[in-house]
């Protein structure tokens, strides 16, 4: 089975506690409509599971298919340098049809970024390298489309419809509670 490589580290964007028994990692593309749908499902699933779940996101922009995906990923990472990754991430997925530069800068303003700094960072080598390194880690981990999920380090090939994903994750929680 394909394994998450490298494992989660402080380089990753994640929500939830590092001690959470369930770790869910998504490789996604901000312009991919399936990822857009998954975004809503994940919100619901995370709300239902609560503190037992750590959720992390890595970039996997398919830029040849989605012309705005790479730039949007850079925007999220640039916002991340100002500690605004998650609000930016949400805005991007909630506005997938609007990913031109004018929109990206508007979102950056909305989430409270310093826009001069954002303008510098979105074109920086640091941000480009972060996205590239996410993409390569995905390729090495066996990502085969977007979104691809890893649960506790193993690639999850099942359905990510809310009820299925929720029950898979809840079963993992059950395992811990039984111990």
């Amino acid at each position: 089975m394909s394994k998450l490589r490298p494992p989660l580290s402080s380089q990753d964007h994640f929500q939830g506690s590092v001690d959470a028994p369930i770790q869910l990692v998504e490789y996604g593309d901000y312009e991919c409509p399936f990822c857009g749908r998954a975004h809503l499902i994940l919100k619901a699933v995370r709300a239902a599971i609560g503190d037992d779940l750590l959720f992390a996101f890595r970039n996997f922009p398919l830029s040849q298919v989605h012309p705005h995906a790479l730039r949007a990923a850079h925007a999220a990472e640039a916002a991340g340098l100002q500690d605004r990754f998650w609000p930016m991430h949400d805005l991007l997925f909630e506005n997938q049809q609007f990913l031109e530069d004018e929109h990206l800068f508007r979102y950056a303003g909305l989430v409270g970024c310093d826009l001069d700094q954002f303008a510098e960072d979105i074109d920086s080598e640091e941000v480009a390298e972060k996205v590239r390194s996410d993409f390569l880690s995905g390729a090495r981990s066996g990502v085969n489309g977007t979104p691809t999920f890893f649960i506790n380090g193993g690639r999850y090939d099942g359905s990510w419809e809310a009820e299925v994903l929720l029950s898979v994750l809840q079963d993992l929680r059950g395992v811990r509670e039984l111990r």
Partner: protein
């Protein structure tokens, strides 16, 4: 079963555009990733090939070229490659249909298409890794990257 590592890769010459042919022997001195897939436009192929396209810089660093191959005709390939912005050639195993797939033992007679099969061929034309994925499952790129890394000069064979 698909031809396995350690065998010489059978040569072939196939159309890639209406007026261009590509032969395996043209790539001597380069590693080659030969990706057989069932059909242009099918949902799984439409995810699989763009990932390889995105990884072209990495494949090049590893001294490799990528060739996609299916039984579709050249005009179909052209439209598909353009639509998905693919950065490597698609070869047309069209006439006689599936002949190259048969040579590599990855032809599905019932359906008249090839398996979803990957071959990594080294600089001397030797198959060094092969893999047949369940037809509905996109194999991704991790196996290819690992196989190519194993072929880098200085690595123990």
């Amino acid at each position: 079963m698909a031809l396995e590592a350690g065998r010489q890769a059978p040569d072939f010459s196939l159309g890639t555009t209406p007026d261009q042919r590509v032969s395996l022997r043209d790539f001597r001195g380069r590693n080659v990733v030969l990706a057989f897939y069932p059909a242009d436009w099918s949902p799984v192929c439409s995810d699989q090939l763009p990932i390889y396209s995105e990884l072209m810089p990495e494949f090049r660093k590893l001294g490799a070229e990528v060739l996609g191959i299916s039984v579709d005709g050249v005009w179909c390939h052209l439209a598909f490659a353009k639509h998905r912005n693919l950065r490597f050639p698609l070869l047309s195993d069209f006439e006689p249909k599936g002949e190259v797939a048969r040579t590599y033992d990855v032809y599905r007679k019932g359906e008249g298409v090839s398996e979803r099969a990957l071959f990594v061929i080294d600089r001397e034309g030797m198959i060094r890794w092969s893999y047949v994925s369940p037809i509905g499952v996109n194999p991704g790129a991790d196996g290819i990257l690992e196989a190519l890394e194993g072929l880098q000069p200085g690595r123990k064979r």
